[in-house]
Symmetry: C2
Subunit: 407 residues, 2 copies
């Protein structure tokens, strides 16, 4: 029913905004490129007859009215921002699939009881502004609006300022829209569906994740005359921590244990200076709360022991805590029924990545649909899914949305 | 004979140009601050009656004529640039001690047979522009002038451009001055003299050192859905290399084995992205050539093995090779005689840091004098030597220079 070529073409067109030589996309949240992508998306939604609203944290809602003006909406959506080394699919797919649902309803002149809405959530990636999923978090009451607007990027520009700069500081109070159920379609960003040769993932939940800032302080000193035994090398200490925490997670992948150091800055680096201070970011994940808690506990012990041995000090500061999420059984079941109608192959799985659906699920019944990622690769310019995979996921989303919009 | 308070005051005054809150100095080569320090130094030398010359790579020579206008000069000097986390003594001391020698000769109306010169060498630290000691290297024929002028900082600004910006692109061809012998006075930058409770180090040579750029390439991927076993994490691989090379040097400090990673950049970092590329700098040192060669060989083996195990690639590229230096016996002896005259305590030692004297020694008989560094600390804002230590070293330099200027 949906038009596979049409959503594919829309994806490829939007991917040109911030498109990289390697075929990926670098379009950080609330940059000029993000503005262009948002404008394009809104124009397409208007062409499809939608009413557009923008809230005070820049979330976009495109609404196709239902026959009952008072009914809460069936909403889908994701994000348009990307990682620095991002692809064309992560997030964008979920927004454009929502638009494809509306275009398909229009093609067939289908009326729905409930309004159908597509949402674009600001700064999902957490790359320019930490934490991730911040604007869906504000929408759902996890963060208050002042916290959201005041988060700053590495240059000190806040979300509030950046919204004004690109003209997306909307008027609508955040979190006031009436959503009946929320469904998010996304690429898997991992290897499971491809390995199992399955078309669709019915997502039952999301790993718990915690983000930390880690500051290691040693003593800067001269690379030549300072004997190795005298050194308090903050980079050596950091290296020992990275290695040990990687191997801890590697040796116990039960519960999807994950440990990632994404950013590392040597403060005032120089080739012939033993680093005196290093700042890192840490990302720990686990499928259950006890597991996540004990992973953090072990990380703290490892970090303290290495700091002690290396004559450095270490400060680990949690800046974001997103507990493991279980999606609503009725929404999981609805996706399951929609898949069965199509004859596509499927399995249930847990998402290793955070999504706006995590925060939405705290406010309204929510679940997610995954399609395979080629090679399991994401947050990489080589991120890819085939046109058939993109089409299949969109069809499942259409089926769920249409059914749910009439209940 | 020399005026201890006068050189101390000059040091403290010059240290205010780029002075930091922590009491250190951040005055990178050929910046506006470096210009101010150079201007101040030149004004003081002019006040002391010196003739000033500036060569095409910005080296400064302040000359006090001798009674024989044709005699080659006795030259001393060091550098005015600092590390980002530098102190007030490293380099600056050697320049101002040279000026103090001239001021003292003036005080006592002493004529010398040979001219006495003080030199300031451009970009000794190697922090803004790699490699270190570049302008003394050009002076002595180690590098050609085009290589020197074309070295670029991390923003792409070349030495040639930076010299023009601060007005220190002099007219004199580089390397044409007639130097009879060169003596450099410096702080030790290491712990030996302090530990041995000695006043003066008679420096017999300098460790061999090699600088490398190391590029590790893995695959950027999502921190959540990517199982640990699938990762090709360039930062994890880097961490293993840093740890193993640190411990290799630590377990064998014979020959003053040193291994330092001063800079590390994650390319396009993001908290939830497994690093796909990391660029590091490596500094290896050893007191003899075979030892340095075998250290590099082991480093190559370790790096290759870790790259293989971690599914990454590693490219180690040597950008600077300064072999171990042995100073001229006649100059070492001259310093030894000068120390004995003073009654100060002393020992012979080898420098772990490179100095302009390394390159000067390839062209003219050269040696160095060290004074203690409090706590052995340098390339750190806490770098310190006492007024008495500063005075003692200057007196030894004066004695050597005066004697040598009359031979
Ligand atoms: N989908 C996605 O990449 N989300 C970013 C949040 C996370 O780090 O999992
Ligand atoms: N003296 C000094 O800090 N020189 C810099 C060159 C080196 O790295 O040893």
């Amino acid at each position: 029913k949906i038009n596979q070529q049409r959503i594919w073409d829309s994806l490829m067109t939007l991917g040109q905004i911030g498109g990289t030589e390697e075929g990926g996309c670098c379009r950080l949240a609330l940059t000029e490129l993000d503005r262009q992508a948002r404008d394009t998306f809104i124009n397409w939604c208007k062409d499809a007859g939608c009413e557009i609203s923008i809230d005070q944290i820049g979330n976009i809602f495109a609404r196709r009215p239902g026959t009952n003006p008072d009914a809460a909406a069936i909403t889908t959506g994701s994000h348009l921002d990307t990682q620095p080394t991002g692809g064309k699919f992560d997030g964008i797919y979920g927004c454009l699939a929502g638009l494809e649902v509306i275009r398909t309803l229009n093609d067939h002149n289908i009326q729905t009881f409930r309004p159908v809405e597509v949402s674009v959530w600001t700064n999902e990636e957490g790359s320019r502004f930490a934490p991730a999923m911040i604007a869906s978090g504000v929408f759902c009451g996890e963060f208050d609006i002042d916290y959201g607007l005041s988060r700053a990027d590495s240059e000190g520009v806040t979300i509030g300022e950046a919204l004004k700069q690109i003209g997306y500081d909307g008027a609508e109070p955040v979190g006031q829209r009436d959503i009946h159920r929320f469904f998010e379609l996304h690429i898997e960003q991992g290897p499971v569906l491809e390995q199992e040769k399955l078309d669709i993932g019915i997502v039952t939940g999301v790993l718990g994740m915690r983000w930390y800032d880690l500051v290691i302080k040693g003593t800067s000193a001269h690379a030549g005359p300072t004997p190795m035994a005298y050194r308090q090398d903050a980079l050596y200490a950091s290296a020992c921590m990275i290695k040990e925490l990687f191997e801890l997670a590697h040796s116990n992948e039960e519960g999807n244990t994950r440990s990632t150091f994404g950013c590392l800055d040597v403060i005032q680096p120089s080739r012939n200076v033993i680093p005196g201070e290093v700042r890192l970011t840490v990302d720990l994940r686990h499928s259950d709360l006890d597991g996540l808690q004990s992973l953090e506990q072990k990380a703290r012990e490892i970090i303290a022991a290495i700091a002690e041995q290396s004559g450095t000090t270490a400060e680990l500061n949690c800046i974001w805590d997103s507990p493991p999420t279980a999606f609503a059984p009725e929404c999981i079941e609805a996706v399951g029924n929609a898949v069965k109608d199509t004859g596509l192959s499927y399995c249930e799985l847990v998402s290793g990545a955070g999504h706006d659906a995590v925060y939405l699920s705290r406010k309204v019944p929510t679940s997610m649909i995954f399609v395979p990622s080629v090679g399991g690769i994401s947050h990489n310019e080589a991120e890819w899914s085939t046109i058939e995979q993109i089409g299949a996921g969109t069809q499942v989303l259409f089926n769920v949305m249409q059914t749910q919009a009439n209940i």
